[in-house]
């Protein structure tokens, strides 16, 4: 593991700028340290990260791991590593927020072949910023240099987060009733799912010359009010503040990732209930229409691939809906819970 010392890389020897690496390691440690409170124990456990857990009656540890998928291909084309580090933290943290957890600590895995020390620092810098935003300590990581597995300049990222929640404060799907309302909170755009389809449509990461790929991404679209690249690299939004605000008010929290609304909302419902979602209730970000048109993608496929403008769905009793909206002004009712009649856990109207 990375933080305390970096023994795993010295043998690479030839061609490695030891001084640049030393400076990068020092900077990475500093970035990590800035995220760490007194719960993180220093000076012990040099092979691992130590986090003191205090003040919980019935602690349940909540964990998740995920990667940014091939959004990283776009970040690479446009040299936007910091934002990608933020994406990684937020997408993992959002997953554990659905269980009502407070994020405690985060670890990252960066595998690469020839990322510069500066690029690695920028990735970690983005992670550190995102960790600070959600009160989470960046406690460790691994940077694996993998010649012959990754092509020169290529890399991959995985994140791992652990949080904690009191046993009796975990949102319980069994409490969901017919007639409960579904409230959607907007996404910032694509977030981190569906990039394989997007790259197929716009021919990104498909062997075109880098300059040509940059031109595709630099193209401005009136509907977007900016370039394609800016819209596609909009960061994965964190729902930390929103989930804190609705603590105790909701019965279920769904993070809308791969599979979209139809696959993610039913995950927080009992098996005999389904989600009825009225898609006319909100207007997705124009990037979705642009993708649909450019790729000739069906409406059904769009909703099963992308979040379509809703990144988080909250399930609440009807009498709590107003309180949820007072806590999260952006939340709007997008549907309701109905009795399940067929194989589909979600009906999109």
């Amino acid at each position: 593991m990375r933080p305390v010392s970096e023994p795993g890389r010295t043998y690479a020897g030839a061609g490695v700028d030891i001084e640049a690496r030393g400076r990068a390691v020092a900077r990475i440690r500093e970035l990590a340290r800035e995220t760490q409170g007194p719960q993180v124990l220093a000076g012990v456990g040099p092979f691992s990260a130590l986090y003191r857990l205090e003040g919980y009656r019935q602690p349940v540890l909540v964990s998740s791991t995920d990667g940014v998928g091939t959004k990283l291909v776009l970040a690479q084309i446009l040299d936007r590593y910091e934002a990608l580090g933020e994406d990684l933290v937020h997408l993992c943290v959002n997953d554990i927020l659905t269980a009502g957890a407070q994020p405690l600590f985060f670890l990252d895995y960066i595998a690469n072949n020839g990322l510069t020390e500066e690029q690695k620092v920028r990735l970690v810098s983005g992670m550190a910023r995102a960790c600070r935003a959600v009160g989470c300590a960046l406690v460790g990581g691994e940077t694996a240099d993998m010649p012959d597995v990754y092509r020169p300049g290529d890399f991959d990222l995985a994140g791992f987060v652990v949080g904690v929640v009191e046993r009796d404060e975990i949102p319980d799907p069994a409490a969901v009733r017919e007639g409960d309302v579904l409230l959607g909170v907007p996404s910032a755009g694509i977030h981190t799912n569906g990039y394989a389809l997007i790259r197929d449509i716009f021919r990104l990461g498909k062997g075109l010359p880098r300059e040509e790929e940059r031109e595709i991404l630099a193209r401005p679209y009136a509907a977007l009010g900016g370039t394609l690249g800016e819209a596609l690299l909009a960061p994965h939004r964190s729902y930390y503040r929103e989930v804190q605000a609705v603590r105790g008010l909701v019965k279920g929290i769904a993070h809308i990732t791969g599979g979209g609304l139809p696959e993610n909302v039913p995950r927080v419902l009992p098996e005999d209930l389904a989600a009825e979602i009225e898609t006319a209730r909100w207007t997705p970000h124009p990037i979705f229409a642009l993708i649909q048109e450019a790729g000739g993608v069906s409406q059904r496929e769009m909703y099963r691939t992308f979040n379509m403008g809703v990144g988080l769905v909250l399930v609440a009793a009807p009498e709590r809906a107003a309180a949820v909206q007072a806590a999260v002004p952006e939340a709007r009712v997008i549907g309701r819970v109905v009795r399940r009649r067929g194989p589909e856990g979600a009906l999109l109207l």
Copy 2:
């Protein structure tokens, strides 16, 4: 995250055998479930894994992340995925054992371009077996299909483990004194560090035809009592049993990974002390001599790249050495703690 549902993959659509995938997902869930005790909460938290923590006075959470490095290239050539899954768990778990932790749960990240469903199942099967061996629950994971990032058939693995230890049971480097003894526990071979160098020497993963690579690995060596491939793919040994056995007897535990003895042993010593290691005290596995000769590698470089036959080092007061050896009969004294005189934290004699 993988375990509860697999929404993130459906849009890949064309070319994916949905039924085979469904069977693989079911099998992976079953494998994971077999590792899970009552601490793992099911039916809640569909976007994350939930683990109930009970019975600790002053719990400290100990975490680590790591990858198998380019050992995976050799596993790929010889189609040995299960063993690689075991490697991944043991190398991560060994890291947290150094803090005296009991492993609680493990998550994996598998990124790939075109691994078969069967290969994925075999990877997870190895992980599940290793998790069971150390009383750890395999609670989650992510399988990321990454076309255009990985070449067809290529993949990468990262593991994340969380354990727990009582605050006052963490081995404390500050307790180490001049004259304390260093006891080494044998490695099973290379473990998971140094494979970039090995692959350079034996031209593995360097573009030779796959058949030729298989021939290189199938070559028997009298000194090894078997083939090169068998020796190079010997599993990363778990030190779970050994660390349990010396609980309360040792002041420091070092996992000998990248950087070898010279870089890893000093990590568990105070800054004013150093490790004096008598290399004549043990005989490394013959694979190390074979690599050294085939590659013309210096003795110094060998000790800084490989574990050289010692996978774990225990630091104990001299009067405890006999008790440590009674608990771990394989452990043998390989050196002692001395006052530090120069920049080196370890002196190899």
